[in-house]
Symmetry: C2
Subunit: 476 residues, 2 copies
């Protein structure tokens, strides 16, 4: 959209809505909100507003509509595609939901929890735990990301295999539309076939259609049995075959199946404090297997032993260990979750967040490796991720001794090579992180024109003035 | 929309697209397509077209757009809200997908099945079974309903508790838009965060935004353990408490939890051949409990015994029986599934397909009974359904000796009484059947104006000419 810098008069009107303590223009205070974690984007903003209620969000958007002021919603600012970062023109206001962090209700009988969009994910997990329930969404940034952002990006994480993405964990939403109108869709129903699915349209829209201010989330019984195993294997093919066995044996009790390469174990043992190689000799590939059962602790135990036995007998598993304490279970997960951080001391890393149909994972891994090494000899591929979901974080550390800046300069280049193979397999260039600014133009380039056109029609129908998080997901 | 009877010239052009064998105007052949099962709606149509491919569907919609001809998509014609029935003006053509009944692909490793929209649900279940997998969608009409209709209405059924509605069972769609453009969204990915969720917008849209022609469906491991139990209890409150215990104990292994009233057992034992009361003495309420386990048959056995023991010890269960053979399991489910049919010989039945937050079920049942009996003394309430989903088929058989026509004349009347209580509980007036013609105006009346307005904007953005299934779900 075309917009100009909001006048001081307009900014004063915004300030009046939330009080001057919650309307920030101080540069130092603004600074952390203007960039995202990886340092890929750095924007500017006219003001940061921190409303304290849905009504205040409504008043802000109503005024933004009237004055044509672009609004960038932000919660935990942990997104990885620049969706929460304002543009560089400085015309936008950032609307932070951090003060709206109240758990509105917890109902362990109906298995629902109602939360403000600004609640930190870990606080929601804790509130569920306090009533003996599980809110299964779990990801590295859970201590700082907020549920509004999780919903707006349809966050994935480590529990998707059994419980689904954030979309599957949400029953209802409260959304403030660009006009300021409030849609109360806070339903608590498992079945409700009453017209078009507005809820799922706002989920994953990355704040471009409205601002999510509250949500009804699904809770689950807490598992009573939990087992974590770690196995060394020869190849992604072996891992895939083992996944099939695990899936047949455990059904929905299979709560994690993560693939890791040897180089990832090297990086984590080298750079992450306290991480040790769980197996005595090295293997080319590894899987972390997580099993949770609701009936009895013994069921998980029986399952994990049966699975490892099947894996050994069929020659798929070379060696394996079962965590014998909660501390050991946590250590195995910690190794997996710190794999991205462990790449940092190794220099630059070019990232991909892709998914492919899981039966194509072995071919994808082989073809991508060949193509990447041909384009960049010496590149160190550290591809790991949620094998059971087909979601691979195809990360590439720079060749030893390479210049970091020069290496990172080939980001788009290497992306194009990997994404071409992903697309050829019928895969996705953004499995769980979303589109934001990072992949907006790439999305438009790879998808059929009719699909982009339909998205554009939805955007125009919901946000005709184009004030909602402009420049993200889709260009209008 | 305003439309007039298609001219014979236009009809000839439609005929040319599919061949005269697949363009039906013969009244006798048309007749069964013009009415729905319950006899609530009886429409007229200018022609019935049976395209054989997505391309033909595209050509038909393209011509319909050009000529302003309304199109009513139809698959198995088993819908219960008139969504598949043309209007009375006779201006529409019916587009039947019945010839598009090919299973395009089955991949047991990736756990996906790709089907034409015209595939009969039971054929899809069978194709999954043939490769050792489960497609869990299951409902009374599975022998004749077709997957395109299941998707378009987001069908529920008996397996929702563990596997979700049809929405949760679909990974990707192929849709022909009103203009004839084809959207190929046949993705096979569990994680794909790339823009607005078009898939879930078409699911449940009841053919008003486009015609679903193909779908990627999720398959699951086949359970190896299966137990069905039947318990007599004193009240819906006891059933709810038992459900909580079952849910905690079994987690996702709890694959069914159905509530039934004594009168439903009376009706089925009286009218359905082969149905016998499974328990020696009568109880006021009953639940059917279905447990499926993936690891071992013994797990299901242990669970069902533990649950009944807990239920007995806590005084929730008065008496119970566990099916000791597959035949007995089927007999218990047959009783539950024939409960609606068993009402027919008892005279007229006024139906409701409602859901409420499950913790409110006991209150809802008590308040609705009181209100209905006050309005219609002698009414025989046969309320049964998927307690675990909060979905009650609140059916009311006519008082003994009442006039059927007069009784059915009070349909809207009684609906209003029951729905008011449903809404007061935060419930839904259509849990699984959809809106169609039956509940369109009621939906517009009970929902906030902004919600109806957003739906209308979507309808206009996708179908500006208003040719897709006009008059259903929402008036434009």
């Amino acid at each position: 959209m075309d917009s100009s810098l909001p006048s001081s008069d307009v900014l004063a009107r915004f300030t009046a809505l939330v009080g001057s303590a919650n309307a920030i223009t101080d540069e130092e205070e603004l600074a952390p909100r203007l960039k995202e974690n990886r340092g890929l984007y750095h924007g500017r903003a006219a003001m940061l507003l921190k409303p304290g209620s849905t009504l205040e969000v409504s008043q802000i958007l109503s005024l933004a509509s009237e004055t044509g002021t672009p609004v960038v919603p932000q919660t935990g600012n942990t997104g990885l595609v620049g969706g929460q970062t304002p543009g560089e023109d400085g015309h936008s206001i950032i609307l932070s939901l951090e003060r709206m962090n109240r758990i509105r209700d917890v109902d362990p009988v109906a298995n629902v929890l109602v939360a403000d969009a600004g609640c930190i994910l870990a606080d929601i997990q804790r509130a569920a735990e306090e009533v003996g329930r599980l809110f299964p969404l779990s990801l590295g940034s859970e201590g700082s990301c907020r549920i509004g952002g999780n919903l707006s990006t349809n966050a994935g994480g480590t529990a998707v295999l059994a419980y689904g993405n954030t979309r599957q964990l949400c029953l209802g939403l409260e959304v403030v539309l660009p006009t300021g109108e409030i849609w109360d869709g806070l339903r608590r129903l498992k079945k409700d076939n009453t017209g078009y699915d507005l809820r799922d349209l706002f989920i994953g829209a990355e704040g471009t259609l409205g601002v999510i201010t509250g949500a009804v989330l699904k809770l689950f019984p807490r598992p009573v049995g939990h087992q974590v195993a770690f196995a060394g294997l020869a190849s992604p093919q072996a891992a895939l075959q083992l996944f099939e066995k695990a899936s047949n044996l455990c059904g929905t009790a299979l709560t994690g199946f993560e693939l890791m390469p040897r180089i990832g174990i090297d990086f984590t043992t080298r750079h992450i404090q306290g991480v040790r190689d769980p197996l005595p000799t090295p293997h080319d590939w590894y899987v972390l297997i997580d099993i949770s059962t609701s009936d009895a602790a013994e069921t998980a135990e029986t399952m994990v032993h049966a699975l490892l036995e099947q894996g050994m007998e069929s020659g798929l598993i070379e060696d394996a260990v079962i965590a014998s304490s909660v501390a050991q279970q946590k250590a195995l997960w910690h190794m997996r979750e710190s794999m991205s951080d462990a790449q940092k001391p190794e220099g630059g890393s070019i990232k991909h967040d892709v998914s492919v149909p899981i039966s194509t994972i072995p071919d994808f891994m082989a073809e991508a490796e060949k193509a990447v090494l041909a384009a960049m000899p010496g590149a160190r591929i550290c591809a790991f991720g949620h094998l059971g979901d087909g979601n691979i974080h195809y990360n590439i550390s720079q060749p030893i001794g390479a210049d970091k800046g020069e290496f990172l300069g080939r980001w788009r280049d290497i992306n194009a090579i990997v994404h071409a193979i992903v697309l050829e397999k019928g895969g996705s260039i953004s499995a769980e992180h979303g589109i934001g600014q990072l992949k907006r133009d790439e999305l438009a380039a790879i998808r059929p024109a009719i699909e982009i056109d339909l998205m554009r029609r939805i955007k125009r129908a919901f946000d005709p003035a184009g004030i909602m998080n402009p420049g993200k997901v889709i260009s209008v």
